[in-house]
C-alpha cells in the first residue's frame, strides 16, 4: 500500500518535473529561415533532377560517367569504320556482278552470231546439193 502511494507520488512528481517547456524565443522564425535556405538549395537540386530521372544511379560516379562516354565514342568510331568497309565490299561486289553480266551478254551475242553463221552455211550447202541433183 505504502509502495503504491510512493509510486503515485513519484509519478505525480515526474509529471511536474517533465512538464512541457516553452520553446526559446524566435523558434518559429528560425524554422522558417531554415526552410527558406533549404528551398533555395532545393531549387538548385531540381535543375539537375531531369538528369537523375534519365540516369540510373550507377552513373552518379563521374568515373563511370566518363568511362561510359569513352566506351560509347570508341564504339561509334569502330562501328563507322566497319560500316565503311562493308559498304566498300558491297560496292565492289556489285561492280563485279555488273562486269560478269556484261561478259555473259557479250558471250551470248557472240554465240548467237556463230549460230546464225553456221545456219547460213548449212542452208547454202543444202541449196548447192539440190542444184546438183
Amino acid at each position: 500500500m505504502s509502495m503504491d502511494k510512493d509510486t503515485s507520488r513519484l509519478e505525480d512528481a515526474l509529471k511536474i518535473a517533465l512538464r512541457r517547456e516553452a520553446v526559446p524565443h524566435g523558434f518559429g522564425d528560425r524554422v522558417r529561415a531554415r526552410l527558406v535556405d533549404q528551398g533555395l538549395a532545393g531549387q538548385d537540386k531540381s535543375r539537375k533532377a531531369w538528369l537523375r530521372f534519365f540516369m540510373p544511379p550507377i552513373f552518379a560516379h563521374p568515373l563511370v560517367r566518363w568511362g561510359t562516354v569513352a566506351a560509347v565514342s570508341a564504339a561509334l568510331v569502330v562501328g563507322g569504320i566497319e560500316y565503311r568497309r562493308i559498304e566498300q565490299e558491297r560496292a565492289e561486289g556489285e561492280a563485279a556482278k555488273q562486269r560478269l553480266i556484261l561478259a555473259l551478254r557479250i558471250a551470248g551475242s557472240k554465240l548467237q552470231l556463230a549460230k546464225s553463221k553456221v545456219q547460213g552455211i548449212q542452208a547454202d550447202q543444202t541449196e548447192n546439193q539440190q542444184e546438183k541433183e
Binding site: 510512493d6 517533465l18 523558434f27 518559429g28
Partner: protein, 181 residues
C-alpha cells in the same frame, strides 16, 4: 477560433498547405517536440536544433499526414528516433542510475529543486527507458502508444517503465526522503 490545419479525421487529402498554415502547425506542436528533446538530451541548444530538424522533416512529409492525430503521432515518433540517433552520434560518457552520485538532500519546500533533481535522475537513465519515461510522463502516453511510437513490444515498454520507476523511486527516496515522495 480558427480550425487547426488537418483537424480531425476529415482531412484525408489536405489542401495545399501555405506558409501560414505551416507556421501554425509549428506553433501548435513546438512545445511538445522541443520538450521531448530537451528532457532527453538535457541540452537546450541541442534540443532546439533537433526540434528544428524534426519540423523540417515534417515539412517535407506534409503530403503524407492524414490527420492532426496522425501528425502528432508522427512527430512524437520522429522526435524519439532522432533523440536516440543524436545521442548515439554524439555519445557522451554515461553513468547508470545506480552509479549516479546522490545529489545533496533538498531543503523543505524546494519544489523547483525537486523537479530539477528528478529531471537529472531521468537524464541519467539509459536511452530507451529514458525516452519511455519522458513519453509516459511528459506526453501522458499509454504503454500501447509508446510501443507504437518506438516500434517495440508493449511488454518491453511496461518492463522498462517498471524498472525505471523502481530505480527512480529508490534514488529519489534517498535524495528527498520519505516525507516528500
Amino acid at each position: 477560433m480558427a480550425e487547426p490545419v488537418l483537424a480531425g479525421k476529415a482531412a484525408e487529402k489536405p489542401a495545399v498547405i501555405t506558409e501560414t498554415d505551416f507556421a501554425e502547425i509549428v506553433h501548435r506542436h513546438q512545445s511538445m517536440v522541443y520538450s521531448i528533446a530537451l528532457h532527453f538530451l538535457a541540452d537546450a541548444a541541442a534540443a532546439e536544433e533537433l526540434a528544428q530538424d524534426v519540423f523540417l522533416q515534417l515539412h517535407a512529409n506534409l503530403h503524407s499526414m492524414k490527420s492532426d492525430d496522425h501528425m502528432k503521432f508522427w512527430l512524437r515518433k520522429v522526435t524519439s528516433h532522432r533523440c536516440i540517433d543524436s545521442k548515439r552520434r554524439y555519445r557522451t560518457p554515461q553513468i547508470s542510475l545506480d552509479e549516479a552520485p546522490d545529489p545533496a538532500a533538498p531543503t523543505p519546500a524546494e519544489d523547483l529543486l525537486l523537479a530539477r533533481r528528478l529531471r537529472q535522475l531521468v537524464a541519467s537513465l539509459p536511452e530507451k527507458p529514458r525516452l519511455i519515461v519522458i513519453l509516459r510522463y511528459q506526453e501522458d502516453m499509454s504503454a500501447d502508444e509508446i510501443a507504437g511510437a518506438l516500434a517495440m513490444p508493449v511488454a518491453t515498454v511496461k518492463s522498462h517503465l517498471q524498472r525505471s520507476l523502481a530505480m527512480l523511486r529508490e534514488k529519489a527516496s534517498r535524495i528527498i526522503g520519505e516525507v516528500t515522495i
